[in-house]
Amino acid sequence: MSDGTALNGVVEGRARRLRTPNDSPLKWLCLAPVAVWFVLLFGLPLAFLVWIGFWRIEDFQQVPDFSLDNYREIAGNLFVKSRYGLAMLQSFWVAATTALVAVAFAYGIALAIAFAVPAKRQRLALLFAVAPFWSSYVLRLYSWQTILSKNGVVNSVLKAAGIDVVRLDVIYTQIATRIGLVHYLTPILVVILYVTVANIDRTLIEAARELGATRWQAFRRVILPLSKVGLITAGSFAVIIALGDALSGNLLGGGTGRSLIGKYPLFASMLMTDYSSSTNLPRTSALATILILMMILVLVTGAIFAGRAQRRISG
């Protein structure tokens, strides 16, 4: 074998090994913190939570076991007595409608930042859009309570303006719950959707316009389809957060806020009450596991739709 051939062999071998950066052994080092974080702060607590759901209570104490009694009890109370099923329906209804409004609202803001604000100012605009996220969520909810209540800001202004016939009456309804949730979600969704919109290839939009598309047609035929993955991701994210949130439902929705479905509490709210009012952590864990399953269902559905949308764009 000549020296040249040997050298070529070494170079080819190295090229094979370093085909992509992922071939570097350093990747395991870099991934290790993520794996440790995931296992310690997510995997183990989650597994523990699910495990406790099978325990039972004996003389005010948790006894390790593998009993399905907690799940049987919850299943038996889906539409009678505690009516967990109605709380689940309420949660899905409020979360889905909240996600719809929040995504639409955040999408509008993201579009405005990406297309109406000069490139140099976009970071600043994004900063302003996410600014509410820096303040306390509970304080924001109490502020909304001050705005929406019977003697609140809105009704006081209406009264001062002499418009007594019109009165805002949304406090302790699920509309108020949604207002709190939309306020909470919007900054997060704006970031997700801004990244989506900002990454749309501008030449495609320009091409559409040069081929005679109106602004609306360019939006509907180019921008919206290319935003679909981001919109589905943001929507799934919004539903999951809204499903898990109990604060807005408690403070603005009054615990059992009225909605089209009825005056039922959110499932997360029932879970919190169950935890704080009885020495029955196994049943609370079972309820929490059910909530997590509801979230996984949303996540998987979102992933399927996002995958389809991505394939359509790629194809």
């Binding site: 003389d59 005010f60 007595k81 009516r83 209540s149 408690n250 615990g255 059992t256 509490p265």
Partner: protein, 389 residues
């Protein structure tokens, strides 16, 4: 005042002596448990000889504990919890012997006893008990059902009716049935915890019952009926007293069977609020000081319990920044000014000459307890049905 409670948790409780030991579970789930115990471990390292107490907020305030620390030349460290369940969780997540004393809600003493967490002690050397209101010298929850004393009351207050005087008169507030008045439709706020609400409902249907949690199935059915009748009147359920106070200020709630919310409101400058215990009776909460079974400083822990029975310390304890309450030692008034006495009802009762308003309220109230004849799940299911109707 209704004590603040919330359901925020870090990790699930780990205690279980019946199956795995706490040590086993802690070992297996070290990473998870570390978050619940970190504060205690660090403090322990800082002061090995400190007295460690698990308690509701207020006991750790300088004014309250300073004299004890100076007298006994000891540092007292506190782990604060919000809610009985959190107390059990914190206790369960720590090594035996971590705590020397626990401030517990009176009815939770039996839960602590089930875990062999606290032990009985003699009250013979506690002279201040003679100044306690008779109802606090010796009542069932202190004894956890077997005759021995496990806890001494330190602080209490009531779950009566708090109301806006612009919409409800004192006479109306003196009757639980006034909550059904048409003017209160959609204007009642309820504390989202089954024990006080159902205890009050129990008294509303069985006036004067000294054991409102020890009721028959038929009586429990009446309680459920009363609650379901009340439901249309209810606009909101508050997870603590704060949302209900906010709702009362905002005019969204006119009355609440949640106790003396008027204390906070009056301090905030709102004079149009008051509270009372209806003639049928109302529920009373109380905290008790207990001594831990595994403590290595039981004598010192008992000295602290003894210290907490004094009127001076109670006068500060029930008037802390955390919240306002009442003290069982009637000499407490010697350490208050006129405003404090008036605010907390330690003033003569014009309707009952010779006694203070607070004594009338104590006479009319029954201690919060746990369901005796039915499993607590049965009561919780009724409360959930009340909420979801």
């Amino acid at each position: 005042m209704t004590k603040k409670r919330n359901g925020k948790s870090s990790l699930p409780g780990l205690s279980s002596r019946a199956g795995l030991s706490r040590r086993d579970v802690l070992g297996g789930m070290a990473a998870a448990a570390a978050f619940g115990t970190f504060t205690i471990i660090s403090k322990r390292a800082e002061a090995a000889d400190a007295l460690r107490i698990l308690c509701w907020p207020g006991y750790e305030e300088k004014d309250v504990i300073e004299e004890f620390e100076d007298t006994h030349k000891v540092k007292v460290e506190f782990k604060i919890y919000i809610g009985g369940e959190q107390m059990l969780q914190f206790f369960g997540q720590t090594q035996p012997g971590t705590f020397d004393a626990i401030i517990s809600d009176a009815e939770y003493v039996q839960k602590l006893l089930a875990r062999k967490a606290v032990e009985a002690f003699s009250t013979a050397d506690m002279p201040e008990l003679a100044n306690y209101h008779p109802k606090f010298r010796d009542f069932a929850p202190m004894r956890a059902g077997e005759g021995k004393v496990y806890g001494i009351p330190t602080r209490f207050s009531f779950y009566g009716i708090s109301y806006n005087t612009d919409y409800l008169s004192a006479d109306e507030a003196a009757d639980w049935n006034s909550l059904f008045l048409p003017k209160l439709t959609g204007k009642v706020g309820v504390f989202d915890w089954y024990l006080p609400t159902m205890g009050n409902a129990s008294l509303a249907v069985t006036p004067g019952n000294q054991t409102p949690y020890d009721i028959s199935d038929a009586q429990l059915a009446s309680v459920k009926e009363w609650l379901l009748k009340l439901r249309p009147q209810v606009s909101m359920f508050g997870s603590s007293s704060q949302p209900i106070v906010q709702a009362m200020i905002a005019g969204d709630v006119y009355a609440s069977p949640t106790g003396d919310l008027d204390v906070d409101l009056k301090l905030a400058g709102y004079e149009n609020f008051s509270s009372t215990i209806p003639k049928q009776g109302g529920i009373r909460w109380q905290e008790v000081a207990t001594i831990c079974t595994d403590s290595t400083k039981k004598d010192l822990a008992k000295e602290w319990v003894k210290y907490m029975t004094g009127p001076k310390v109670q006068s500060k304890l029930v008037y802390t920044k955390a919240f306002k309450a009442r003290g069982p030692n009637m000499k407490i008034v010697d350490y208050w000014d006129a405003d404090q006495k008036k605010l907390l009802s330690y003033v003569p009762d014009p309707e009952h000459p010779g006694q203070m308003i607070v004594e009338t309220l104590i006479d009319r109230s029954m201690p919060r307890g746990l369901p005796a004849q039915q499993p607590d799940t049965q009561w919780i299911e009724i409360f959930n049905e009340f909420k979801t109707t």
